[in-house]
Structures are given as structure tokens and as C-alpha cells.
Symmetry: C2
Subunit: 220 residues, 2 copies
DNA sequence: TATTCTCGTGAATATCCGTTCACACCTTGT
DNA sequence: ACAAGGTGTGAACGGATATTCACGAGAATA
């Protein structure tokens, strides 16, 4: 038996925690299940973390770190709004395929209430809301984006679509719902294509209404 | 003491159940709290319902009945797709204001998994998916809707936006998230207006791109 | 090798919740 | 007014879970 848990083991415990939280919800996830599935005893969880709440926060932070890495990668190279969207959709599709438990845990978090909900929302959504708001501001300045919509609500609708897409790939209820609408699980490429068309319309509609205007030299 | 619970009392019990399920989740909602808040004893719940699961199903059915009534009202008079959308948005806004617990309960249901998730999804989403698919088919036939998008995915994106809107009005986490994006709770009328613009673009973008001709087949 | 210290273990404890059932009250029929 | 049957009550039971802590197995030191 090791004297100290290795960093790999500690990470394994966090990943296991994410799986169990994703499956059972924050409240109903049994610490005993987490310990058993990670191959350690319950006691060790309480040696490394003050309590369940503290352990959950660590799981969330661990997950957010990997998500931030992903978003940073996507937005590292400058590009047009529509191309960003394409990259984002693809990145979220692959993240959903690789780490469905993380997405499911985020979904479980959305049922929290009260002050906790406010804190968690700003912790989880802060990153993407800042990112999308920035992208949309840039889009407006570069003329790639219509001007008759409030950037805040626009970013909100935009993220609603992306968030629901991830949930629909990972969470049983939303998966069933997507199959209901589409008559079966659609191909990733079809979703990418159709969602992009949907978004492209929203991005540029106003200017398309004025085909003679000035610089029609971007979209498509 | 009444010999039998009055219909009003029975309805009050169901409404209380919806509130408690909405607040605590399907699994964590205590039957004792429901009984206490409704002003009856725990025992009576088990006289009228076989168990918690059975009681929950009754709460859900009770709620879906009122939701169906609302949707039926909106779609009773024929209209254009965009006007339907406006009526839908308004109806959902007022339903969210009147019955936030119902929406919160639907949200709690979305965390269920396995076979239960599939059944609940088809029970709750079946109605709206059929409705939206029908509206979209009519829209395509009447020419009010672009033809280069799959109706299924289109209806799916459409409902994603409407569903997220309801959650954002009623559920703490989503409420905080919307405030994060919009810098405060936006006015109902602003949301209606902006979402309609967003949708209108998606409905008609393809045709706007081709202001002269009509049947350019499908784009790209 | 002997001793001490560090750290993981898992049985035990306290709490909470679904469900049951013996009881008491109210209604109804006579 | 009384008896009988129906109906709501809530204390009690069993199962589950967060958290603790006395213990023992390795590592470190000499």
C-alpha cells in the first residue's frame, strides 16, 4: 500500500467523483460509491477533502480546467465569427464524446437553487459568457454581425443553442428528446451543418435584407 | 373532518407536490414535506397513491394537462409561422410567470436517466414536438420557411430556444445565467422582440439571399 | 532490526426518508 | 342515540447515507 496517494490516483478519484455526481446528482451521489469505484476507502476522501461539498467543488474545478483548455485552444487563432462557431461546435461535439460525464455533471448542477446556483452559474458560465460577448462585439465591429440585436441577448441565444447541443449528446433525457425531434440520432456533421446555417442566418439577416448596401463582402 | 378529500383538496395536494418536486428533485422530495405543506398526513398520500412514483406521475399528468390547454389555445386559430412564434413566446412567458413550479419540475425531470428518461421525454416533449413539426411543415409548404434545412433539426433548435427561455425565467441557475449574459433580467417585451428577430432570420434567410428568383432549389 | 510516525481503512454513529399499520374520529343507517 | 364501516393520522420500522475515529500496515529513522 502506498504511503501517499499518487497524483494519478488523486486525479482518478476526481474523475470518478465526476462520474458519480453526473449519474446521481450532487445530493444523491454516495461518497461510498465514489470511494469503491475509485478503489480507495471512504476515509481517505475525508482526509483529502473536508466534506462532500468540498470534494464536489474540487471535481468541478478539475473539470472546468479541462474545459477552459479546450476553449482557449479554439479561440487561440483569430478568425471570423462564423468560423469560430464552426470550431466551437466541433470542439463541443468532441468534448461531449470524450467526457460525457463532465457535461452530465454540469447538467446536474443546473438544478441547484438559491445562492449556490448563483455562485455556480457565474463560475461555470462566466468563462463562456465573456468569450461569446467578446466574439460578438468583435463581430459587430467587423461588420460580420447585424446591429439590430442586443449583444447580451444575442450571446445568450447563441449559448442556449450550444449548451442544449451538449446536453443532447450526453444526457439521457435530452438524448431521447433529440431523437424524438429528429427521428433518431443525427450525424455530427449534419448537426454541424444545420446549426451553422441557423446561426449564419441570425448573424447576417439584417444586412442581407439590404443587398445593395455597402460592403457585402463577407458572409458565406 | 371530511369523510373524503374534496376535489379542491386533491388538486391542492397535487400542486403542493409539484412545488416540492420542483424544489427538491424527484428523488429528494420528502413525502412528509408534501403532506405537511398541503395540510394532510403522510398516510393519506398512500391511501390515494400507491407510492411516491405513482404520486409523482399524477403530479406530472396534472401539470401536462394545463400545459396542453395552453398550447391548444395558442394554436387554435390559424396564422403565419412568425405570428405563431410570437404567440408561443408570449404564452410561455405568461405560463412561466403563473406556474414557475411546473417549469421547475420539468427541469428536474430532465436529470432522470435510463428508461425512465426516455418515457418521460416522450410524454412531455411528444406534444410540442408534434406541434412544432406540424407548424414547420406548414411553413415550408406555404413558403414562409426556407427549404434548405431539415425540419426535424429545425424544430429541435426552435424548441431548444423556447425551452431554455422558460428555464431561464423559472430556475435559479438559469436565471442567474441569463442575468450574467444580459447584465440583469431583461424585459419580457425585449426578449420577445429579440428572440423573434433571431427566429425570423432563421426562418427566411435563404430566400433573402435570393431577392429576385424564387426556386433556386437549395443553396450552396 | 527496532521504533516511531504517517496515512489509509472500514465498522460504527447519527440523521433522514419512504412506507406501513394500529388507532381514533367522522359519517351513515337504523 | 347507537353501532358499523369507512377514512385520515402519525408514530414506528427498515434501509440508506454523510461523517468519524480507533486501528493497523507500511515507511522512515537510527
Amino acid at each position: 500500500m502506498l504511503k501517499k496517494l499518487s497524483p494519478e490516483k488523486l486525479e482518478e478519484i476526481l474523475e470518478t467523483g465526476i462520474e458519480i455526481f453526473a449519474e446521481n446528482g450532487l445530493h444523491a451521489a454516495p461518497m461510498a460509491s465514489i470511494a469503491r469505484q475509485a478503489g480507495v476507502s471512504v476515509g481517505v476522501l475525508y482526509k483529502y477533502y473536508a466534506n462532500k461539498e468540498d470534494f464536489f467543488r474540487s471535481c468541478l474545478r478539475h473539470s472546468l480546467d479541462s474545459l477552459e483548455g479546450l476553449l482557449r485552444e479554439v479561440t487561440s487563432k483569430e478568425d471570423k465569427l462564423l468560423n469560430y462557431s464552426r470550431q466551437l461546435i466541433r470542439a463541443l461535439q468532441s468534448f461531449s464524446a470524450l467526457h460525457p460525464s463532465h457535461i452530465r455533471m454540469y447538467h446536474q448542477i443546473t438544478v441547484s437553487s438559491g445562492e449556490a446556483a448563483r455562485l455556480l452559474a457565474s463560475e461555470i458560465e462566466g468563462l463562456s459568457s465573456r468569450l461569446y460577448t467578446r466574439l460578438i462585439s468583435q463581430g459587430r465591429e467587423s461588420g460580420a454581425l447585424r446591429r439590430d440585436m442586443e449583444p447580451g441577448l444575442f450571446a445568450f441565444f447563441f449559448d442556449n443553442l450550444l449548451m442544449m447541443l451538449q446536453f443532447s449528446y450526453c444526457c439521457d433525457y435530452y438524448k431521447a428528446r433529440m431523437e424524438l425531434y429528429c427521428g433518431g440520432m443525427p450525424e455530427d456533421s449534419a448537426v454541424e451543418e444545420q446549426l451553422l446555417r441557423f446561426l449564419e442566418s441570425a448573424f447576417t439577416f439584417e444586412r442581407s435584407l439590404v443587398p445593395h448596401g455597402d460592403s457585402r463582402g463577407e458572409n458565406r
